[in-house]
């Protein structure tokens, strides 16, 4: 998966100034996005992928992307489907229609979370100030997506590039997450 595709979908919010802008790491707020939570059985995955416009990954912690689409594996029967903000209603309807009577659950969670883009050579260091996961490129290759915990907040981390991570948290936790990231990064300003 190329960095470009992910960045095609998750873009800095033009209306917001950077939360952090250092030579080694920056934090940008991402623009709003369509997020659909899809729960379904294996038999429905193909149809769901077709209706969505990107295949649903079956391997754990993987993301499948196509133009303006990303399907993130969240659990063995759970995917988060990402698309541009304006596609929400159309996608919802398309998937519902395609899946019809197949047992599934499709729920709009677009506004449940917010995303930030953490990038730079110190990005993984910064995330490791609060996240336990080994972010070395061998253990957590580009394209890996997972839910985890940042200090006392649940978050989702998706590596979209060697030095780029998308971090999502439920909206009411985002101040906590960004606040701590910015605070922890301040030592990088010391020469």
């Amino acid at each position: 998966m190329s960095e470009l595709l992910a960045n095609d979908l998750i873009t800095p919010d033009a209306g917001e100034s950077p939360l952090l802008s250092l030579s080694e790491v920056s934090i940008l707020k991402a623009a709003p996005l369509t997020r659909l939570s899809l729960r379904a059985r294996d038999a429905s995955l193909k149809d769901a992928g077709k209706a969505f416009g990107a295949a649903l990954p079956v391997n754990p912690l993987l993301a499948e992307t196509s133009k303006k689409r990303a399907a993130l594996w969240m659990g063995p029967d759970e995917w988060t489907l990402l698309a541009p903000e304006e596609d929400c209603q159309a996608l919802f309807t398309a998937i519902e229609e395609k899946l019809g009577d197949q047992p599934h659950s499709l729920v709009d969670i677009s506004d449940r979370s917010e995303a930030i883009i953490v990038s730079g050579e110190k990005a993984s260091w910064l995330l490791n100030t609060g996240i336990f996961i080994d972010f070395s490129i061998e253990s957590f290759p580009v394209g890996t997506v997972t839910r985890t915990v940042f200090h006392k907040s649940p978050v989702m981390v998706w590596r979209t590039g060697t030095d780029t991570f998308v971090v999502e948290a439920w909206v009411s936790f985002m101040e906590y997450v960004t606040g701590l990231l910015v605070q922890s990064a301040q030592e990088l300003e010391v020469a």
């Binding site: 009577d101 709009d108 506004d111 979370s113 336990f132 070395s136 439920w170 009411s172 605070q183």
Partner: protein
């Protein structure tokens, strides 16, 4: 001249950079590279503290983190840190150190009277006295004991500094950077493994930094360290962490490190954390923690000027400091001889080498002879003179009979001692490994590995430079191989010199003094003597844990690193049982005392716990609302206007909501979308109520029990489509309800085709309640017919609010016409502000949780967690109507059939009205039958909710009262300290009993 004890040259200090510091206000000089201890010694200062119990003068005894005596308080910028070891405090310009546990001064300490009275204070004396008169314990004895105890002064102000955290993973973590640690790190790193090397000291190299009589690859040991570090530093796969203590070894190879970042810097950048907690998951750990020298236990072995021999050598070679002008060396092992030789080579007079052994190694004897040093073999120190500094030592000659004959007196201003070496097995022991006794080495050494670790070098009892290097390389190679499967052969460096030290002794030395009159210290800081250990054994303390606790040996801030082995040997002797039978006390983390702030990390202030805010938050702040904490949420409590207190504000809010309209932020309520063909079946099984027949577009109140039969949560559930429900939960219950649903779904009913998704934060929710509610929302809602016919009470529809999709519930928690509008969270602020503006047109008000509570109480609606407490059944709560009678099963149904849940006399939910309508009951107050119940009377129940009701212009209360529903109309009492309050038992609905207002 300043620094009279500084050598002419040598050492690793920077002689070009002179630093000024103060100790107890006195200004002194040292150099960059000094520790506070080495700088004090350079100035001839040995007396640096007072002991814990007897307040005896104490000096620096070691050069490392095992130091029990030289504890000081460090002050800077208003921050104060007690109990720091002078041997670990790095000198910086302007450092301010204060001695501890003395009053009024270090030189003259009133507490020293304890030393004179010490015959009254043997081990455990406090268990035997201070019992009479009884009242004196808390009032007299204890305050005096407490004032005398403790070491440093506690910090008085909040800490200015902050602390960092970092999670890390590595293939090989090497703890310790002496010869074996450096070799291990290098060998592991050369295989490509990810290596973290940490050392508690400022410089890597450990013993190599003070070794000047050996060489590695033909280089000075310190130069070899530099070369090795350069190699390690150049590798991307290596992280070097000086000033970093591996202090805790936890389950699953999780090792905690404390990195000290700014304490050694004169003016640290405030953006730097003071310390950082590294939480490292290491595939393999190499423990290269070295060994520490043991003191000799002889009478008066605690005088300032008495040091461990290796410490004396370290001060000389590494710091360029002479510990005295005339030094006596007392030893039972080889290593101290080298200290004597180095001293002599630096022009220090060596008064004598006193070796316990009858025949010390010949080669050492020869070197001593060559330097003209007097040697007394088969000889011990039996006492010392000099109160604040050692002046002389008494010698005793060991006789074949086992007796000791007086061997005269030797003058000296410093005494270096060595009882041999104790491997540092703390980390190994923390890893839950069991140490084993090695009789040859006279030490406990690591046994089998329990976790993925290996000890190397001196920490496993292996000595000698060449041997430890080789062992280190092998340990590094093996660790890397085990972690990554990779190996690489590197060229081993070879050492000459630095031979293994032989010899050593454990326990107290024999002497010719009156045993009952002298003190031979085992544990310096806690003033535990050999006598104390023997007394404990005499009194029946036969387990080493009892001995430790009774005497407090090993419980000081050095955790017994100097004392444990000697105490054990003395106990073993007193018990006449082999040392291994007596057992070793457990090594606990942390390895050395570790700053609280390090553990607390970033969790302080607003980051102590996430502050969760709703979309109305900013508006509430601007409009003067007051918040309350509900779980992590900030919820608006009430909106005081014009200086109102809470009572006035709430009364106004209630009145307006009933008369006109109120606006309430209900966003924090938990929301769960239940979707799938079996959604109704699932809810049928979870909740007490029936769901299958609920029509699309309708809502129902749902009651959730646990399988024990008690109420745990409630909320309104709306059916959006055949297979789609919008479930709401309480605010605090949201996560647990979701988790319990997942539990049942995944593990009990995996066959159901239904999924749940949390939508708590997907939606912002505004409740608009009151007679004008429909008028308030009408201008903004599209796509929904708001008429009572089309949208009756307990309905739900989807439409738009100001053009954005919404879910509109017609529900009420106030008893008034009410709507709850759900829009996606991003539009929550817009919705709130739109409605807040709109209600102004109707003279409406925004209201908070307190008004919400009053309005619902007037209607007798329960609040789960306030009116219920986890012991309340639906019957108790008067909610049998919520139970689907025809249902075969739901969570809690079987629990409700248990005998006590059906028994008579259970508390039931009722209303209470005080005879005097102005008297408001206290929530939690007890309800009794008797007006003036005797103490010990069982309560009939308690008040769960109590408010002033503006609608009724009187107080109302809800309560749980035994058999309460049958007591309606009866008078009961609420006994209070000021007198009993009569109350009448009523139904739970106080206002609009017919429910007319809700159906308009």
């Amino acid at each position: 001249m300043s620094q009279p004890f500084r050598t002419e040259k040598g050492g690793r200090i920077d002689r070009n950079e002179q630093l000024t510091f103060t100790f107890d206000g006195e200004q002194m000089q040292g150099h960059k590279g000094d520790t506070l201890a080495s700088a004090l010694l350079a100035n001839g200062v040995h007396l640096v503290g007072r002991s814990f119990k007897y307040h005896r003068p104490r000096g620096i005894i070691s050069s490392g983190s095992e130091e029990p005596n030289a504890l000081v308080g460090i002050y800077r910028n208003g921050d104060q840190t007690p109990n720091l070891r002078a041997t670990q405090v790095e000198l910086y310009q302007g450092l301010e150190a204060i001695s501890q546990n003395r009053f009024p001064s270090l030189g003259f300490d009133i507490g020293a009277i304890n030393d004179l009275m010490s015959p009254l204070f043997p081990a455990g004396f406090y268990y035997k006295t201070f019992m009479w008169p009884k009242s004196f314990w808390d009032r007299v004895y204890e305050p005096v004991i407490r004032a005398a105890a403790g070491l440093g002064k506690p910090p008085k102000k909040p800490d200015h500094d902050f602390y960092g955290n970092l999670y890390a993973h590595c293939d090989v973590l090497v703890a310790g950077s002496g010869p074996s640690g450096l070799a291990a790190a290098l060998a592991a790193a050369e295989t490509g493994a990810k290596v973290i090397l940490c050392d508690e000291q400022a410089e890597f190299g450990g013993s190599l930094l003070s070794e000047n009589s050996a060489s590695v690859d033909g280089k000075e040991p310190a130069d070899w360290v530099a070369v090795t570090l350069a190699r390690l530093g150049a590798m991307d796969n290596v992280t070097l962490l000086p000033r970093t203590t591996a202090f805790g070894y936890f389950a699953h190879n999780y090792v905690a490190l404390a990195e000290r970042i700014t304490d050694h810097i004169a003016n640290p950048d405030p953006k730097l954390p003071r310390e950082r907690l590294w939480q490292v998951r290491a595939k393999e750990v190499v423990i290269a923690a070295g060994a520490i020298e043991r003191p000799l236990v002889f009478p008066e072995n605690d005088r300032p000027g008495i040091l461990l021999a290796d410490a004396g050598r370290t001060y000389l070679n590494r710091y360029g400091v002479k510990v005295g002008h005339k030094v006596l060396v007392a030893t039972a092992s080889d290593s101290a001889w080298q200290a004597a030789f180095d001293m002599a080579d630096h022009g220090v007079e060596v008064a004598a080498i006193v070796d316990l052994r009858e025949t010390p190694p010949k080669n050492l004897m020869a070197i001593a002879e060559a330097r003209g040093i007097r040697v007394e073999a088969g000889c011990v120190v039996t006492g010392t003179l000099g109160r604040k500094r050692v002046k002389a030592a008494l010698l005793g000659r060991l006789m074949t009979s086992g007796q000791v004959a007086s061997g005269g007196q030797v003058e000296c201003d410093a005494l270096l001692m060595s009882g041999g070496w104790t491997p540092t097995v703390s980390l190994y022991s923390q890893s839950r490994g069991k140490v084993v006794w090695d009789g040859d080495k006279g030490a406990f050494v690591p046994g089998k590995s329990v976790q993925h670790e290996r000890s190397t070098g001196a920490s496993k009892g292996l000595y000698g430079l060449q041997a430890t290097l080789e062992d280190g390389y092998a340990a590094g190679e093996n660790a890397a191989k085990a972690a990554t499967g990779k190996s690489a052969k590197i060229a081993y460096s070879t050492a000459t010199g630095g031979e293994a030290s032989n010899g050593g002794t454990l326990g107290a030395l024999p002497h010719d003094r009156n045993a009952s009159r002298v003190k031979a210290f085992v544990d310096y800081q806690n003033d535990v003597t050999a006598k104390d250990v023997k007394l404990a054994v005499r009194e029946g303390m036969h387990s080493i844990e009892h001995i430790k606790r009774y005497t407090t040996t090993g419980m000081a801030t050095d955790q017994g690193r100097l004392s444990n082995m000697n105490a054990l040997k003395i106990a073993s002797g007193a018990l006449d049982r082999p040392l291994t039978d007596v057992g070793l006390t457990t090594f606990r983390q942390p390895f050395t005392p570790t700053t609280f702030g390090l553990f607390a990390g970033v969790s302080r202030g607003d980051f102590f716990d996430p502050v969760r805010k709703t979309p109305s938050h900013d508006w509430v702040v601007e409009n003067g609302g007051v918040f309350e904490d509900v779980g992590q949420w900030k919820r608006t409590w009430y909106f005081p206007k014009n200086g109102e207190d809470m009572h006035a504000a709430v009364a106004r809010e209630c009145k307006i909501a009933r008369e006109s309209v109120g606006l309430f932020d209900a966003s924090t309520l938990g929301k769960i979308e239940v979707v799938g063909p079996d959604a109704a079946e699932f809810l049928e099984r979870m909740y007490t109520n029936p769901w299958k027949k609920l029509a699309t577009g309708r809502c129902r109140y749902g009651l959730l029990l646990n399988d024990a039969g008690f109420i745990t949560d409630d909320g309104v559930i709306g059916r959006l489509a055949e297979g789609r429900f919008h479930v709401t939960t309480t605010t605090g219950g949201a996560p647990s309800v979701f988790a319990r649903m997942e539990d049942y779904l995944q593990t009990e009913w995996p066959d159901l085709d239904v999924w749940i998704t949390s939508t708590t934060e997907q939606y912002a929710v505004a409740a608009v309640q009151g007679p004008k509610a429909r008028e308030v929302i009408a201008p903004f809602i599209e796509g929904i017919d708001l008429s009572a016919e089309n949208l009756p009470h307990m309905s739900v529809r989807e439409g738009t609010f100001c053009g954005v999709p919404c879910r509109l519930f017609r529900i009420s928690f106030t008893g008034e016409l009410g709507f709850e509008i759900n829009v996606s969270r991003r539009h929550g602020k817009m919705m709130w502000e739109t409605l807040a503006k709109e209600i102004e047109k109707h003279s409406g008000t925004a209201y908070g949780t307190e008004t919400m509570h009053v309005l619902r109480a007037e209607k007798g609606y329960i609040i789960v967690g306030q009116d219920t407490d986890g012991t309340v059944t639906p019957q108790d709560a008067g909610m049998t109507w919520a139970i689907g009678k025809k249902k075969l099963d739901f969570v809690g149904k079987r629990g409700l059939e248990r005998p006590d849940l059906k028994a008579d006399g259970r508390p039931q939910f009722v209303g209470l009205l005080t005879t005097d309508p102005k008297v408001k009951l206290e929530e939690g107050a007890q309800v009794t039958v008797a007006e003036n119940p005797a103490t010990g009377t069982s309560a009939e129940g308690h008040v769960t909710s109590s408010y002033y009701s503006p609608a009724l212009d009187r107080t109302i209360a809800l309560a749980m009262v035994k058999n309460g529903q049958a007591l309606e109309g009866k008078t009961l009492y609420v006994p209070m300290p000021e007198g009993s309050i009569p109350v009448e038992v009523t139904g739970t609905v106080f206002y609009d009993k017919e429910g007319a207002r809700i159906n308009v």
